[in-house]
């Protein structure tokens, strides 16, 4: 550790000032717009107006619901996938992890368009359904919550899987055999041993998936269309169609509060667990 404070400041200030000027200050001004009345005083009118619209309420709840669903489902699938991968030989483990991470390198635009091909009226899902006789007319899957859900899940599942892989790998090696020897069945082993020991990984993965789903734009824009909106797409519409910057500021604030709330909430869950551990 070097002691020279002036040197340290000279090194750190350009980055800090840049981030403040380009990012922090404009965003704070933007957020303050939603709290001002026409005369410039403080007012919550914009928020009351926003939440009194049934359409906005629906969009807000849909965003929360889809975020929560994607997080929960990705956790369930994530555990299964992470278990399967952790049990492999080191070489296979590396390759499989690579394949899981691979989609992250591909443009979300491309990944989302693939779902149009798959879920569209003449897409392979509808072709299969009709061939199997499950339905005789093409189902409308695109431009629905289901389509957004599938798209978001595919987008963010890799983040959950890699978080859980590293959590499972950091778990004490003997914990599961010890629990088995003590007579726990597999369900109890998961619930009482694995889940508490991997909670931090779950929290990290969960935060990434939830905030990712909340703030994704391309997926709801393409797979939800102009009718099934989420907060991000609603905000875009407010600006580009309605020219309503106050509403955009309100949505921005809600999005940021939701991201931070999720972040803090999940962090607290993780530290609560740490406290238990260090108290022992």
């Amino acid at each position: 550790m070097f002691q020279n404070r002036a040197e340290a400041l000279a090194l750190v200030l350009p980055a800090a000032l840049f981030a403040a000027a380009v990012f922090l200050v404009p965003v704070v001004i933007l957020l303050s717009d939603g709290f001002r009345d026409p005369t410039g005083g403080f007012s919550l009118a914009a928020y009351i107006e926003f939440f009194s619209s049934p359409l906005n309420q629906a969009v807000f709840l849909r965003t929360l619901k889809l975020g929560a669903m994607v997080t929960v489902v990705s956790a369930v699938i994530g555990y299964a996938a992470a278990f399967a991968i952790v049990g492999l030989t080191p070489t296979m483990k590396g390759r499989m992890t690579g394949l899981v991470v691979l989609p992250l390198m591909i443009s979300p635009v491309a990944r989302t368009y693939a779902w149009i091909v798959i879920l569209g009226r003449t897409g392979i899902v509808n072709q299969a359904f009709q061939a199997l006789g499950i339905s005789d007319a093409p189902l409308r899957i695109l431009f629905s919550e289901t389509a957004i859900f599938i798209g978001l899940l595919q987008l963010f599942l890799p983040l959950m899987v890699i978080s859980l892989i590293s959590a499972l790998e950091n778990m004490p090696k003997d914990a599961v055999p010890a629990a088995r020897v003590l007579g726990a069945n597999w369900f109890q082993v998961f619930w009482k041993v694995i889940l508490p020991l991997t909670r931090e990984g779950l929290v990290i993965g969960g935060t990434l998936v939830f905030t990712g789903s909340l703030t994704a734009y391309i997926t709801p824009a393409i797979l939800g269309g102009s009718k099934v909106l989420m907060l991000e797409t609603l905000m875009y519409q407010q600006v580009s169609v309605a020219n309503n910057f106050v509403a955009a500021s309100v949505i921005a604030f809600i999005l940021i509060v939701m991201s931070f709330a999720a972040n803090i909430l999940l962090k607290r869950v993780a530290t609560a667990r740490n406290k238990v551990r260090s108290a022992k």
Binding site: Q3, E7, A15, A16, L30, V117
Partner: protein, 260 residues
């Protein structure tokens, strides 16, 4: 085979099919001979791949995205490397505040960053769209640059700098002679991560577009709204193979994943 030994391959197959299947479909669709984006592809041809290179707007937006990804990442590294160095090597009051400010752009939704820049930097100060995009992408990459470079600095013992100084080097000389050569891998990894992040970024760039000034992904969305032909699939496939190739090479030669 009992149920448990089947569990692993079955789970892996289903998860990977879900994660990678859509990409494979896009790749297959880009070799289609048909007029619309569809799967299974109708016939086989390279016409859509060839077409990608003839669309003018793609060329312009590709150049723009390249410029933002390369330039933005380079700028983020120029700002981020000294900051990471200070955060990792100096006892600095307020280090946590700096860390938070610098990493905020990851947490705050990109669409908000784009809109805020448009309304409070571009419009009032008369900044052009291209410089604004450059600033936005630099701010967006900065957190990744700081994180990855910090990780590789933390893996490097700081006493080698003291050793260099005691052997006659200046403090700055020590940085360039013994620190830089040893965090090269981390810097290159940060570059790749920043590049991919910037190149695939949409929400930040959404509001920051003007006549003829667009990033490639935004341009692709705009193109698809008008023409639903397989050329976007072809372009996506090409880009995907490009980034996979870069990341694969980086992992092979640098151990990219150590830093990310």
């Amino acid at each position: 085979m009992n149920a448990r030994s089947l569990f692993i391959p079955a789970t892996l197959f289903l998860v990977l099919a879900f994660l990678i299947g859509p990409f494979l479909i896009i790749v297959a669709a880009s070799f289609s001979a048909g007029e619309t984006l569809a799967f299974p592809p109708q016939g086989f041809s390279l016409r859509w791949i060839a077409k990608v290179f003839t669309v003018d707007s793609f060329r312009a937006s590709f150049a723009m995205s390249m410029f933002l990804a390369v330039g933005g990442t380079a700028a983020a590294l120029v700002l981020g490397i000294p900051a990471s160095y200070a955060l990792s090597r100096y006892r600095l009051p307020g280090a946590e505040i700096v860390r938070t400010i610098v990493s905020l752009p990851i947490i705050v939704p990109g669409i908000i960053v784009g809109l805020a820049l448009l309304r409070y930097v571009v419009v009032p100060f008369g900044v052009g769209i291209t410089p604004a995009l450059f600033l936005a992408h630099t701010a967006l990459i900065l957190p990744y640059a700081v994180r990855v470079v910090s990780a590789s600095l933390d893996n490097l013992r700081s006493d080698i700098e003291e050793a260099a100084v005691l052997l006659g080097s200046s403090r700055m000389g020590a940085f360039f002679r013994v620190v830089m050569p040893n965090i090269k891998g981390g810097i290159l990894s940060a570059f790749i991560l920043g590049f991919v992040t910037s190149f695939n970024q949409v929400p930040v760039s959404l509001f920051l577009s003007g006549p003829g000034v667009r990033t490639l992904p935004v341009d692709m969305i705009a193109y698809m709204e008008i023409v639903f032909d397989p050329s976007v699939a072809a372009l996506s496939s090409l880009l995907a193979f490009l980034s996979i190739g870069i990341v694969f090479a980086a992992e092979r030669f640098l151990g990219f994943s150590r830093y990310v």
